[in-house]
């Protein structure tokens, strides 16, 4: 009896092994690891999918490689993304593996046509992770961006991922927007997405060749740039550098950046405050038809450079001045961004979402023409800055002082 039971169990196990095992097994050498995707929409509305596939033995080799490129770009053309992916088999020798995508570049034209046209597949497919940053190619096509040979990283898609994650932490003109964030902003009420732009700085014909990186100063390089702003899922324009900064202050996405401020009393020179730890609260009140929004960013900073003769940062007055100067600067930046948003009839600021959350009844009345209401709203910005440190020294050294001593 016991033997019967045992053999029955092992039979069942064997059957399950034979029937269901191994269906998703792939050896590493059977896979083409995809690190970058580029999406362009052509004139006839077909999609051009650029797939960047690494060449592992070149990428990992510690010795001199064979001279082959570390990555290959395959291009396929199809009316839909999924079909374009499948058409890849015509050109690539191995099965594409999409879980290690480092970045996705979307052509400007494709973005203007609307992101939802092709992003559905990325969200639906189980093999694709949704944690890669998305950038918009500005002035170039996505395939050109992915063809650039960057100076340090071996391939463009990884260069984009790394420079976004580094830039996000130190200058804050960039912010990593992943597919998840993007969807949340496209679908969510009262908020529109924004994505980093990327462009080629320099001669783009040389950028694809190895000569590009043979000199100390690369002839062409990828540059992350201004923010692309969207209405729902359609690209409507680009923010300037100042506006981008204002946007990130407004949304609290700033992780660390530097602000150059003028010296007190109209003197020449400037000083720099490194700002970090921003926290933004919004108060939304509604009177009659009018909407009052008060935006209160709280910003901390550290004095990181002083080029003013008479800024005694140990004194109380200067302390007040530094705070006021920083607050004013940030108020201006945010105001500029808001003006742009209201003029463009785009709400990437998230004020609409705040209204939806705080005043849901009022939101119902305005949600169909929120951009109008946004334009009419009274918006007040009250930045509160707190500069607490000054680095390793107090006042800057003064050459004049030393001259008298000797």
């Amino acid at each position: 009896m016991r033997f019967l039971k045992l053999s029955l169990c092992s039979l069942l196990l064997l059957v399950s092994v034979l029937l269901s095992g191994c269906w998703d097994q792939y050896e590493l050498r059977e896979l083409s690891v995809v690190t970058g995707l580029g999406i362009d929409v052509l004139d006839d509305e077909t999609i051009r999918l650029t797939v960047q596939v690494i060449n592992p033995s070149e990428l990992a080799s510690q010795e001199e490689g064979t001279g082959r490129s570390s990555a290959q770009n395959y291009e396929t053309f199809a009316p839909t993304i999924q079909e374009a992916f499948r058409k890849l088999t015509e050109k690539a020798p191995r099965r594409g593996y999409y879980s290690h995508i480092a970045s996705v570049v979307i052509g400007e034209r494709a973005a203007r046509a609307g992101l939802t046209n092709f992003l559905d597949h990325f969200y639906r497919d189980h093999e694709i992770r949704t944690d890669f940053p998305i950038v918009i190619a500005r002035g170039y096509e996505a395939k050109e961006i992915l063809s650039v040979i960057p100076p340090i990283e071996e391939i463009a898609s990884i260069h984009i991922m790394n420079s976004i994650s580094y830039g996000e932490h130190s200058y804050s003109l960039v912010t990593a927007t992943t597919l998840d964030d993007l969807f949340e902003k496209i679908v969510g009420p009262g908020i529109d997405p924004y994505l980093n732009g990327i462009t080629i700085n320099g001669d783009e014909t040389v950028s694809k060749q190895i000569e590009n990186v043979e000199e100390v100063k690369p002839i062409a390089f990828l540059q992350l740039g201004d923010m692309a702003i969207f209405r729902e899922d359609q690209l409507v324009g680009w923010l300037t550098e100042e506006e981008t900064k204002g946007l990130l202050y407004l949304t609290g996405d700033i992780q660390d950046t530097a602000e150059t401020l003028p010296c007190p009393n109209g003197q020449e020179g400037s000083f720099v405050v490194e700002t970090y730890a921003t926290n933004v609260t919004m108060d939304i009140t509604q009177e009659g038809d009018g909407l009052n929004v008060s935006i209160n960013p709280e910003i901390q900073g550290t004095i990181s450079e002083v080029n003013c003769d008479q800024l005694d940062i140990t004194s109380k007055e200067s302390h007040g001045y530094i705070h006021r100067a920083l607050e004013q600067k940030i108020n201006e930046l945010i105001d500029e961004t808001l003006t742009r948003a209201r003029n463009e009839h785009v709400d990437f600021t998230g004020i609409g979402r705040e209204v939806y959350r705080e005043q849901p009844k009022y939101w119902k009345t305005v949600k169909n023409d929120w951009y109008e209401a946004f334009e009419q709203a009274t918006i007040e910005i009250n930045t509160e800055a707190d500069v607490v440190e000054s680095g390793d020294v107090n006042n800057t050294f003064n050459i004049e002082d030393y001259k008298h001593d000797h």
């Binding site: 092994v17 998703d24 590493l28 050498r29 592992p56 033995s57 990428l59 990992a60």
Partner: protein, 506 residues
């Protein structure tokens, strides 16, 4: 087969009665033993007036010849004249060694085969067995399988009495018991059931005795023989009887209330009951301070998982779940596997088998050849397979890591189940990926929870979880906190010590 054995035993047990004639008796014994070369017969006489003829019978090599010779020269001093009585004769021979009196030929033969010398005296229908043993024994040496840095450096030997002395020297307690059993119809192997009578759980002793009583075999050659006859479960790779060659380990188990079987001819006494954690503990844990003892134990437990799961995790992750590998690692793994001809699981299997072959060969090989083997194993195979592009170098790393981890276990026998399971889980992983590994892990856990060693759950302390047992399981608390014996000891015997936490007065 068993029927055949039984018949043979019956045949053996037919009795030979003692004859009144000395010469007949000697001849009977010689004929039963079959005129064997090593049986020596020497005739002598006791005293001068009147002479009494006597014969001594012993086995060359087992009996102490020097002692016998001096006994024979002393026979001249045998008291004269009087009527010789049994007590007198016995007390004369007792000067040379312990004397037992046998009234049957069969008992006498048993004594002879144990190395005793048989003395026949004319006109007396008794046989004296005099214990004049010559023992050529291995010296008590340093342990070869369980080394420690700080701790006693002696190991058990083959001689039962030396081993008993080693135990007795460490536990000078009148309650220490050596219950003598003899197993093996032909080998007559002596086994000492050793325990401390006022510490053990009597039901476990009864259980052990009932299992010992079932034994009906022709020979017990080693502790492994006996282990197989008294263990709990055959259908498991896991050992349910503990064994160690270290006297200090054995006595510490005795003090915990476990029962030990010292086996003549085997330097590895057995210990029951044996829960799983005992196999992971080393004598070193207690000779070092508690902190490092605990950390090393944690490392050892981690090594179980490394030794068991590394090859299968590698196969599962690289062939099913590539998304789990960090990108840069994935790139280098992919670069290495470029151009290798076999699937990953076959690569791992080849290397694992190769390692098992090298391991088995190096145990059996004479030492000087072992060096050549190491060179072949490490350089020729290890390096060459990678350079020839047959095996990717990561697989060699994985197998090497597994191999090293499997040598961490302090007892050899616990490494075995993990060696076996490693291959099974590898197959699970190659078919189902991580899911297969979890599936196997669950089966393994179910199996382990199902095991018992002499009524004690194999995973004692862990499953079911007993907080009190944690002090000396994965962790090793300082001695002044380890106040109680294991849970299977009756509660009135459980207190081991009451030393308070060390305090200082200076």
């Amino acid at each position: 087969m068993s029927l055949l054995l039984k018949r043979r035993f019956k045949e053996k047990s037919e009795q030979h009665p003692l004859s009144p004639s000395m010469t007949v008796n000697v001849e009977t014994i010689q004929s039963i033993i079959g005129q064997s070369e090593d049986v020596t017969v020497r005739h002598f006489s006791l005293g001068k007036e009147p002479k009494v003829n006597a014969t001594i019978l012993y086995l060359d090599g087992l009996a102490d010849l020097q002692n016998i010779n001096s006994l024979l020269t002393q026979t001249i001093l045998f008291p004269e004249g009087k009527q010789r009585t049994w007590p007198e004769i016995i007390s004369f021979f007792e000067k040379s060694g312990d004397v037992t009196v046998h009234t049957t030929i069969d008992d006498a033969i048993k004594a002879l085969l144990n190395g005793l010398s048989l003395v026949f005296v004319e006109q007396y229908d008794r046989i004296l067995a005099v214990e004049m043993l010559f023992t050529q024994e291995r010296q008590v040496d340093i342990p070869t399988t369980e080394n420690v840095i700080r701790g006693p450096k002696e190991a058990f030997v083959e001689n039962l009495y030396v081993n008993m002395a080693l135990v007795r020297r460490r536990i000078k307690d009148p309650h220490l018991r050596f219950d003598s059993w003899t197993f093996g119809e032909r080998s007559q192997t002596k086994v000492m059931v050793t325990y401390i009578s006022d510490v053990i759980n009597p039901t476990i002793l009864t259980e052990l005795e009932s299992r010992l009583q079932r034994i009906n075999t022709d020979a017990i050659q080693s502790s492994g023989d006996l282990e197989e006859l008294i263990e709990d479960e055959f259908f498991t790779p896991f050992p349910t009887v503990y064994s160690s060659e270290r006297p200090d380990v054995i006595t510490s188990h005795l003090l915990e209330g476990k029962i030990t079987l010292l086996i003549d001819g085997s330097p590895f006494p057995l210990v029951v009951p044996a829960p799983f954690v005992e196999f992971i503990h080393s004598a070193e844990d207690y000779t070092q301070r508690a902190d490092i003892g605990t950390l090393i134990r944690l490392l050892r437990f981690a090594c179980i998982f490394v030794a068991l799961f590394t090859p299968s995790l590698y196969v599962a992750v690289t062939t099913f779940h590539q998304e789990l590998i960090p990108f840069n690692l994935m790139v280098s793994l992919a670069a290495q596997s470029e151009g290798t001809p076999f699937p990953t699981v076959v690569e791992v299997l080849i290397m694992e088998l190769l390692f098992e072959i090298i391991r088995e060969a190096s145990i059996r090989m004479p030492l000087p050849v072992g060096q050549a083997l190491a060179i072949v194993g490490a350089l020729v195979i290890g390096t060459a397979v990678v350079e020839a592009g047959i095996i990717s170098s990561t697989v060699v790393i994985v197998v090497a890591l597994t191999a090293i981890s499997s040598f961490v276990f302090p007892t050899y026998s616990i490494g075995v189940p993990f060696r076996i399971c490693r291959f099974i889980v590898l197959l699970f992983a190659s078919v189902y990926g991580l899911f297969g590994i979890f599936l196997f892990g669950m089966i393994l856990l179910l199996h382990l929870s199902n095991l018992k060693s002499y009524g004690v759950p194999y995973l004692e302390g862990m499953s079911p979880f007993i907080r009190k047992e944690q002090g000396d399981a994965i962790f090793r608390l300082p001695k002044w906190l380890l106040n109680t014996r294991p849970r299977f000891i009756p509660s009135d015997r459980t207190i081991r010590q009451k030393t308070p936490k060390p305090s200082k007065r200076l």
